[in-house]
Amino acid sequence: MITCLYIPEDKKALNYIAEITKPKDVYENKTCLIVPTERNVRHLASYGFMYTDILSLSSFYDLAIEYDNILLPKELRPYYLLKAVEKLNKDEIYAVFKNNNEDFTNNFLSFAKNTNNIFSFYRELFAEHVSVEDLSKASLYSDYEMQINILTKLWDIYLELIHKDNYMDKWETYNNFKLNEYFINSYSEYIFLINGFLTKYELTFIKNIGTMQNVCVVFNYAGSLYKQHKEYEKFFNTSSLKDKNMPLLNNNNVQIYECASNISQIELITKKAFEINKKHNIPFNKMAVVMPDTSCKPYFILLDVYKLFDVSAGDEMSNTRIYTLLENLINIYEDLYSFNNTPINNIITLFSDSFLLAIDEISNIVSECNKLIENNRQYINKDDLCNISFIKKYFYELLNADKTMTINKTANIYKTLLKNLKDILTIEKDEIQKCIIAVEKVSTTYKNIKDEVSFLESSHLILSEIMSLSIDLPKREIAVTGILETRNMNYDIIFMPFMTEELFPPKSSKDLFINTEIRNQLNLPTYIDRENLMKNYCFQIINHAKLTIFSYSDELSSIRRSSFIEEIIVKNNLKVEYFSPKEISLIKTDTYHYNIKDNEISIEKTDDVVNHLKNFTYSASALNVYKSCSLKFYFRYILNIDKGVESVESLDNQIFGIIIHNVFKELHNKGITPHSDKYKDEFKKEFTKLIKSYDAYNHSKVEQFIATFIYNTLEQIVNAEITHTNEGYEILDREKCITATFNRFNIKGFLDKVEIKDNKIYVTDYKYKDIKNIKIIKDDNFDNVDDIQLVIYAILIEKEMKKLPENIFYFSIKEDFKYFEGFDMELYDKYKVHIKNMLNEIVDKNINFTQTDKLKNCDFCSYNNICGRNNGFFAK
């Protein structure tokens, strides 16, 4: 016999259930109480029942249904489905998947990921006892009928395959299940507590039990019956369910807050919790935070500065460094496998973790990597990488894994790796142990599958298994749960944050194969029904709470509060408060306050600094920096800070300039002069040699092609050089370093070339620049001169050789390939004074280091981040 009851308006669900069960809890009776969640079981366990067994719905199913065969683990479903798909013909595959792309079936993981909707179709088909004919009738669309037929055929093939391997699928029994009579008869009465929807399978299940023993089904809902309840009543042949009143909401039991940010929502909840605890003496464990979505969870983990929140779902395993490490390793493996090398930056990324870097072996690897980058390397090849002892010790097996192998074998590689890593990641050894178990699980689940799968795929399989793990968090007082877990539970105070349209009601995906119209025709729950059910759960939990506090953040104007909130505001005439605290107390202690005026940066010179500057050796580039921005000079030459090396990813003007400079120098060192016959050939040879020291060149055909343009110009450079030599210039030195004292200041410079002709000295500076960008100094308008290099050279020559150069040339090695006068020596004296003044200014204690007025200098300045001139104007 089956009776239906519902939780009366004024009763709390579990109390009511306990109330009706209590009289039956006597020695003579054998009652079984079945509730939806483990949380409910736990809660009821403390009610002290003596003879009543309390089970969760899922464990009850496990015991009450008898299976004649081994159940197929659900993880293996996609594997067998894929096998089944392979037995379909091309047209059939296309009809179902609308895709004849072979990658789709070739890649197991992506196949598995994308067949969820097919499995949910099957599950519903069998659980709801829907026949293929019903479906075909419900839609007039012929392609649909065809699809459904193929899907059914596919299921048959799938069953055939798993039966062959001695498995059965749980869903097979949905239409035709076998009750474990011995078990069912061991109780004389069953009480079911039901919250949501019941499928035909579940209904039949309950009904069949009802033919054997007494069954009482208690429904819990808020407000009026759902349309599904009518169905259930019809099915059980009763009509005892009644509409209930909705909870009465007013500003006394509901508060709604619009918050300025997500973090302020947590501030609100924390403060409110303390306020309520103090004023109304409600203990924290009578409060709960109900989240619409697990994505909100981290706030309660991270901002729990008063140790209030009990996040039962735990933290994510993907937040451990072991997980990150594995993920990065797989990326590197992928590179090594396809290209036999990997960008050095990947190795640096692998270890960019302050904890790992504290390990000497690792920090050494990273500094080696940085050195390689400094030497223009971009990639590291597999052998070199695996020769690093640390890598060899820990990662060799993984990085050298074959392309394909059984999942089991892959799992073993990971197991070994994880076991070894426990030694270095001592701080995470417990997490690693958990990971090892997850890997074992994968290996056990797939142990009978002997197919070789790509190492990458099975790696991702393992990673996703690891990712699904959670890390336990300390037990605290205010429960933080999802909505489903609140079913039948009671709290005095409910906080429901993050109530935006985006998150609540949670959007259930629309089905690909059974759309709303067909659902309506077949009386199946639609997505709207499911959404409304979630709303109903909310009403259920609000129903008995003394106070519910809703909040949402308006940080982005495009985010709206949930229509659920809208509805209760509108229907109950509620007021919305605005919460935008000036300061978030969670992350604030009253230590000190900022009273700093945001004026331009201006640095006064201390005596130390002035002394330092007096003894400093000034190069032309230092002076140029000073000229462009004195603050930059301060950063660069006094604080000595500089951006770290970045890898050379493409060959730009600067690099070509450096290479050609070096070619000249190398040939000079080798004693090969432009007079020599082989100068031209050697020049080209040297260029080729030098350019090959750049990985950016070696690894890119495009860079190589561009380099041919440059290579083609070498002829002209050399010709210009030869012509120049033939004009009687005789080289004294190249890359000549001269230091000298000038007005008590130390100055120095590297002179590209010093020549002599007719007893006169000539200096040349190579410029790899567009001709129009090479600025020659031809007047004494100091402000317009960005580069005073040549003047410094003149001073240095005068000091070193006691004679002024006759002329200082620029030699353009990018285009035109000409020598031309770069500095009018007539202006020498004026510039000498200018430089003297500049140097005096630098050591002048009364002149601060300040940001430049010439804003265009800031565009490409590497310090612009520091002084806030990086974003243009709208940054403020």
Binding site: R42, I70, D143, S354, N515, N532, L556, H593, Y594
Partner: protein, 1008 residues
């Protein structure tokens, strides 16, 4: 307000600025809901997410006010005709109560089916479609949507890949080499230069379908390059020849300069040479008095002819190349995106277009509706002028269906679109103002047109001024600018308003003083800073204004369209993260010195301060080894009091949110930065709006907003009337997929293309650019409610920018009306609630959050866990004196664990089961009532008890164990059993005996 809501006619509503477009749209949807249309039958498309949110809010508000009987008179008036008709249809008497009654039903319906109400942006609608049809489009359903930034990186990669590939082809390699020589591009700019052209084609591939098919192939391009090289030589030779003709003459200095410049290989330089540039040689500047010979005339003409050929050929080469490479890049990008399963919003729109509207599309409408889960009967589109042609084409089938009259199940459908062609400022994104009227023409039998003419926003002088200027523009350009033929009426309650147009001095920075002066004038007249908005054309020159106004103590707030990633809070917090993880001084200084600064200037005068402070910060977190970077940041926000530093700047909290969302648990700094950047990249930086400050924003950003006072100080910069920003453009042939790709000719060389098709296209394009600019001006002017200030430049020659163009119509300075604030109802400011509560608990950060294991013992292996679960499951079934239960247990274990547990273990368990069954101590339990696997609990903790039995005088409890057993373990287990016993004792009020049943040894041990 005039109602556009008579019935659900198909209607094109042209609504000029301020005429209540959004109101009409919201009312239309609300009206439908009131008259019984189901939410799922409606699809309302808006342009931005924000508009979507506002639309939903308005609809709910309106329907609720009807249900509560609190709607305004004008709203009732608006809805009445429709409701009357509805009453008639239902054959009931119309009354106010009728409206209320229907509104209550509609309200309930709306809330129950809210998710079915489709109010979306076109992007998200297309996204929905692609999510439903991923396979059809060739994507996997779990595709990710990437930001444009991300795609740019991939584009670069793809392009390099293409170049690397074509370099293997001899002809292509030759082409690239010749290109380098012809176009004289710097080597390291060569690839970016090519990529620029290529990308343009890729981005416009939908329009260029046919052109693409007819594009010259590589051989043809190679030939063209040969030809152009030949032409170049010819021109050079001719120039030398031309120069020879001057040899006998004594030329003046200027003449000589011009003459010498002919001796160059660079064609572009020759093109600009005064001797060649002029159509008639005798007009050449500095050669006015020169007596040219016929020979010279002839040579110059020959050169010019060749120049024309040269430039036309150059254009063809560029477009041919762009089409070829563009196609390749498109394919390559498609391949990469497919492989990585990523798309951008524009890809989505494109894919949906191909899927639904392309000639070869295989998807029929029924199938579409089936999958879309319902049929849309009513289609409404907002801001239609900004709808791109491809977007329209994907909506077209829906619109046609909606207009078709009787639809599925005899429901009547409708199509409605509203917008203002004059406000189309998104041509660069494919918006087309002409579409608005084209549709009217295409569906003239089905669509009605209406125009909203009353401006509810601006004072009458402003309305008239805009009318006049618009009509002048219309008159001088005729049909090309027919949309500007307007006659808006001002709404009397908005008063007269004030317009002041002045002509700027010809000084670069004049607009700075101008703006300051006008702001001061407004303040003097009684306006507050908050009333004033200064609209600029681009972000760039808002900057000068901000600095200048701030220097002059005028408070400014900036409404940027900048990303959260470029706000200072982001920079500073990221720098802090990098610093604490890597110790990088650079990052430290960025943290310390960026605005708002942490320290005074004097702080960094001493290097030791820096070192000390760096160490101080590192010390704070030195014990947080197993904390995530975000946890450390949170801790530092507290200890370094960064909140005070950012003093309630909403960006600060937004950055914290982004860090939390993107990387709250990340410990690897590289990945942290990457993830945080990604999380913040699609967020906009906000600005505090509560301050009493002048708003500075771009015209683009101002769309849809309104301000009491609008100042437009600086029209002349950027708003150029000629194509200059791009190298290529698509000729607007209106017919989709059938446009030409054209090369932009700089103004200098227009003379060489005169009379050609290229010139015609160029002129067309320039007209469209002009229209764009004027639309922009229109948007800017119509933001003003009470006062409009505009600064334009005197017109001299042919206008080259918008300011000059406008000054054709406004020759004198003009002032209308009186500058005086109009008293308007003040919107009450929201006040934040304060919660004052004393918290006695101690605060602690990030230190204790590391996980701890509830069960301290080392977790077993997976196999061991399985073994235990299986054994327990079997024992749970076992009943003494019932042999059958052994078989049942075995069967149960096989079904549930057979797939995973090894055969050996399974056999072992079966053996154990038998051992237990035969154990006498165990059998004894069954003399009482036995409970198995029971949950008992206390204080919210739950234990599972393996088996116990209630006898008359006592309870016997047994815990199953396998594996190693020694005294230590026995003690551990006993402790646990003692807890169970305590609970059971309380429940049954009987003594409890506890035993450990070591199954392996078949030993039952009594515990204390």
């Amino acid at each position: 307000m005039a109602s556009s809501l008579n019935k659900y006619d198909n209607l094109a509503l042209e609504a000029s600025a301020g005429t209540g477009k959004t109101f009409q749209l919201a009312m239309r949807v609300a009206g439908m809901l009131l008259t019984g249309v189901a939410p799922r039958d409606i699809l309302c498309l808006t342009f931005t997410k924000k508009a979507t949110a506002e639309m939903k809010e308005r609809i709910i508000k309106f329907i609720n006010s009807m249900a509560e009987n609190t709607a305004s008179e004008s709203e009732i008036e608006f809805i009445t005709p429709l409701m009357k008709k509805y009453a008639k249809q239902l054959k009931v008497e119309f009354s106010k109560e009728f409206i209320q009654e229907k509104a209550i039903i509609a309200r309930n319906n709306l809330f129950t089916y809210f998710s079915e109400l489709n109010i979306k942006t076109i992007d998200s609608f297309n996204n929905t479609i692609l999510r439903i049809f991923p396979f059809e489009a060739g994507f996997r359903p779990d595709f990710n949507i990437e930001s444009d930034d991300e795609i740019d990186i991939i584009k670069k990669e793809a392009f390099d890949n293409i170049i690397a590939n074509i370099l293997d082809d001899k002809v292509w390699k030759e082409i690239l080499e010749k290109l380098y020589s012809v176009f004289n591009i710097a080597a390291n700019n060569f690839i970016p230069w090519l990529q620029n052209y290529t990308e343009y084609t890729t981005n416009n591939i939908l329009n260029l379908e046919i052109t693409m098919q007819n594009a010259p192939d590589k051989h043809k391009i190679n030939e063209m390059l040969n030809k152009i090289l030949e032409l170049r030589n010819n021109i050079n030779t001719q120039c030398i020849k031309f120069m020879h003709t001057f040899e006998a003459d004594e030329l003046g200095i200027n003449q000589l300069k011009t003459y010498e410049k002919l001796n160059t290989k660079k064609i572009d330089e020759i093109a600009c040479n005064n001797l060649i540039k002029v159509e008639n040689l005798s007009d050449a500047p500095s050669f006015k008095k020169y007596d040219f010979s016929q020979n010279q005339y002839n040579i110059q003409k020959d050169i010019r002819d060749n120049m024309q050929k040269y430039y036309l050929l150059q254009g063809d080469i560029i477009t041919g190349l762009a089409l070829n490479l563009g196609g390749l890049l498109y394919e390559k990008m498609k391949e990469i995106k497919k492989e990585r399963n990523i798309l951008t919003y524009s890809d989505i729109s494109e894919e949906v277009y191909y899927m639904l509207s392309d000639k070869h599309s295989q998807i029929d409408k029924d199938y579409l509706y089936f999958r879309l889960d319902g049929k849309i009967n009513h289609l409404l589109i907002d801001e239609f002028q900004d709808t791109s042609i491809s977007q329209w084409l994907t909506l077209k089938p829906l619109a046609e269906e909606a207009m078709a009259g009787l639809g599925q199940k005899d429901k009547i459908g409708s199509f409605f679109y509203v917008g203002d062609p004059k406000q189309n400022i998104y041509r660069f994104r494919g918006g087309s103002s002409s579409l608005f009227r084209t549709l009217l023409h295409e569906y003239k039998d089905k669509l009605q047109a209406e125009t909203l003419n009353t401006n509810y926003r601006s004072g009458s002088h402003i309305v008239e001024f805009v009318n006049n200027l618009s009509n002048n523009i219309y008159k001088s350009n005729k049909e090309l600018f027919s949309i500007f033929n307007i006659d808006q009426k001002a709404y009397p309650e908005n008063g007269d308003g004030y317009v002041e147009v002045t002509h700027a001095l010809d000084e670069k920075k004049y607009y700075l003083d101008y703006t300051k002066e006008k702001i001061e004038k407004c303040i003097k007249a009684g306006y507050t800073y908050k009333d004033i908005a200064v609209l600029t054309v681009s972000n760039k020159h808002g900057g000068d204004l901000i600095d200048y106004l701030e220097e002059n103590n005028i408070p400014v707030q900036v409404e940027t369209s900048s990303k959260l990633t470029s706000c200072q809070a982001f920079q500073i917090l990221s720098a802090l993260a990098v610093f604490i993880e890597t110790g990088d001084t650079f990052s430290y200084l960025t943290y310390a010195l960026s605005h708002p600064k942490a320290y005074n200037n004097s702080f960094i005068e001493n290097k030791e301060n820096i070192i000390k402070d760096m160490n101080r910060i590192k010390n704070y977190i030195k014990n947080m080894t197993n904390c995530s970077i975000f946890e450390k940041i949170l801790y530092l926000i507290n200890t370094l009091d960064l909140q005070s530093r950012f003093s309630n700047n909403p960006d600060f909290y937004a950055v914290i949110d982004a860090m939390e969302k993107g990387a709250y648990g990340e410990k690897n700094i590289s990945l942290f930065m990457e993830k945080v950047y990604k999380a913040a990249a699609d967020k906009q930086s906000s600005s505090s709006s509560s301050n009493n400050a002048v708003t500075i924003m771009t015209i683009h950003k101002s769309k849809g907003l309104q301000f009491p006072v609008v100042v437009i100080p600086n029209l002349e910069v950027d708003l150029k009337l000629n194509a200059a920003n791009t190298h290529l453009f698509v000729s607007d042939n209106k017919e989709f997929g059938n446009s030409d790709l054209c090369s932009v000719y700089k103004k200098d060389i227009h003379t060489y293309i005169s009379g050609t098709k290229a010139e015609e296209y160029m002129n067309n394009e320039n007209n469209l650019i002009m229209q764009d600019n004027i639309n922009m001006l229109y948007v800017a002017m119509t933001r003003a409610e009470q006062a409009l200030f505009m600064n334009i430049k005197y017109f001299k020659d042919t206008p080259t920018n918008l300011s000059q163009y406008v000054s054709q119509f406004i020759v004198e300075d003009e002032i209308y009306g009186k500058l005086k604030p109009l008293k308007k109802e003040k919107v009450t400011e929201r006040k934040s609630v304060k919660i004052n509560v004393e918290i006695e608990k101690e605060k602690s950060f990030g230190t204790d959050n590391a996980w701890f294991d509830t069960d301290k013992k080392e977790t077993q292996s997976y196999e061991a866990t399985l073994f235990g679960s299986c054994l327990h499951a079997g024992l749970n079934i076992l009943e003494y004196k019932n042999d059958a239960t052994i078989k049942m247990a075995e069967k149960h274990m096989m079904a549930h664990f057979g797939a995973l547990l090894s055969e050996n273990n399974m056999n072992l368990i079966c053996e154990y089961i038998k051992k237990v069954y035969n154990n006498t101590a165990w059998q004894k339990l069954f003399t009482g009532r036995v409970f198995k696997e029971r949950r008992i609990g206390e204080n919210n903790t739950l234990y599972a008890v393996d088996i116990y039995s209630e006898l008359d005088d006592k309870i016997i409890l047994m815990d199953y164990k396998t594996g190693f057993l020694d005294n230590n373990r026995i003690n551990d287990y006993s402790d646990k059993l003692r807890k169970y016993a305590n609970i059971l004792r309380k429940i049954y009020n009987k003594q409890v005996e506890t035993y450990i049943f070591h199954i392996e040894s078949n030993q039952v041990i009594l515990t204390q």
